[in-house]
Amino acid sequence: MPTETKSAVAPFSETLRGGQMWSRVLRRGEALALTDVEGGASVAALFFNAEQPLERYNMPDTLKAQHIARLTAGNVLYSDMGRVLCSIIADSAGWHDTITGHQRADMARAKYGPGTYQALRNDFHRNTRDNFLVELGKYGLGRRDLHANVNFFVKVASDLEGNLRWVPNSRAGASVELRAELDVLVVLSNTPHPLDPAPTYAPKPVGLGIRRVPAPAPDDAARTSCAENGRGFTLTERYFA
């Protein structure tokens, strides 16, 4: 069962309105908290080793190491190099998707109409793919670096036959906090998930807060949640040894 973690997270100092994008190198030992201000948020995210971005978040390695098909507190985000990029140290949403991808411009137009800048100015309908490409471009990265992303606050569950279903998930005030285990380039897009049944373009605001946190102790919840993660932390710590 997903763990509900009550511990306080970093208060937010910055708000991403619906449609907006964000990126920053989260230094090892920093934690980034995302807060769903109104409920029903969805934030698409990508993660890279800031020192060598060819090393990046790997969805299959993350899932199979921890025997999970969703992310919550105690889980970690693995890179393709066997290292832990981030640990989820707090989560009151309970389920974050990583298996259903993100929306492109063609999908957004088909669902919400044109939503152009000419007509809507800065309320225009930005989509996740274009936001990712803009933000990645600032670091010399691009289309080839786009891999399966995380969708924070989004729940898409399957039945025993594998049929997927969108499940309303996140409530106002829900938050998730990520502790960087190495210097991680985090790219966020606060844009609608492709399976969100809402017929109009209305992504919700998300608060962002960053704080310094202690290094993971020997009894850290993410490190000890499975034997695989113990080895993942060992490999990550060897990177700095």
Binding site: G101, A148, D159, R231
Partner: protein, 214 residues
């Protein structure tokens, strides 16, 4: 699970080759051609990727494929979507019934995490992909390797969000067949994993056949 057989005769195939376990394989499959992969001895995972043959920055996307069909498993009728929302191939026959696309490829580093730190030097699919790319598909690099398909592999997902690697549901002679909807580059690693039941702890050869359009 519904199984669908094919009427295509192996004797009429335009290409027919056995790929041993631990080996890579790549080939252009042209629009209209049909590709069959045969699990010759049973329970063999075949790690598979597809790229647009003319623009390999457009490639197979596991997440687009499962989202568009609303189901996690691949079988007959599944359209394999690209990262740009185009259909690369369609599965037109399947005598296994279910194929994985969440488990990804084994790698030296992920084997250390999953099994033991001393497993680093066991042969693995990511090494096979990298060598095949370096020697035969030089337009590509590691950044182009997305989450792949694992034909014949059984990775059940639970409604609670769990995921396990289970004993295979495939068997000797089972196959999957795909119709190319555009020119694609096929990249295969016939999986050498010895640490989990995906290959029944005994990796075995598979057979790759291609038929031209009738």
């Amino acid at each position: 699970m519904a199984l669908t057989e094919s009427k295509l005769e192996p004797s009429r195939a335009s290409f027919d080759q056995v790929v041993e376990s631990g080996c890579g394989f790549s080939r252009t499959i042209h629009r209209g051609q049909t590709l069959r992969i045969v699990d010759l001895e049973g329970n063999q995972a075949v790690d598979t990727l597809f790229f647009d043959a003319h623009d390999p920055t457009e490639r197979y996307s596991a997440v687009d494929t499962i989202r568009e069909q609303g189901n996690i498993y691949l079988t007959t009728g599944t359209r394999l979507f690209s990262s740009e929302g185009n259909v690369l191939l369609t599965i037109v026959a399947d005598t296994c019934g279910r194929h994985d696309t969440l488990g990804g490829a084994c790698a030296a580093e992920s084997n250390q995490v999953r099994y033991s730190l001393d497993k680093k030097h066991m042969h693995n699919c990511r090494d096979t992909f990298l060598l095949e790319i370096a020697t035969r598909l030089e337009r590509l690099s590691k950044r182009d390797i997305p989450a792949n398909i694992n034909f014949f592999m059984n990775v059940p997902v639970t409604p609670e969000g769990g995921l396990t690697f289970e004993d295979g549901i495939s068997g000797s002679g089972r196959y999957v067949e795909l119709l190319a909807e555009r020119d694609v580059t096929l990249l295969v690693s016939n999986c050498p994993q010895l640490n989990n039941p995906c290959n029944a702890y005994d990796p075995t050869p598979v057979r790759v056949l291609v038929w031209d359009p009738a």
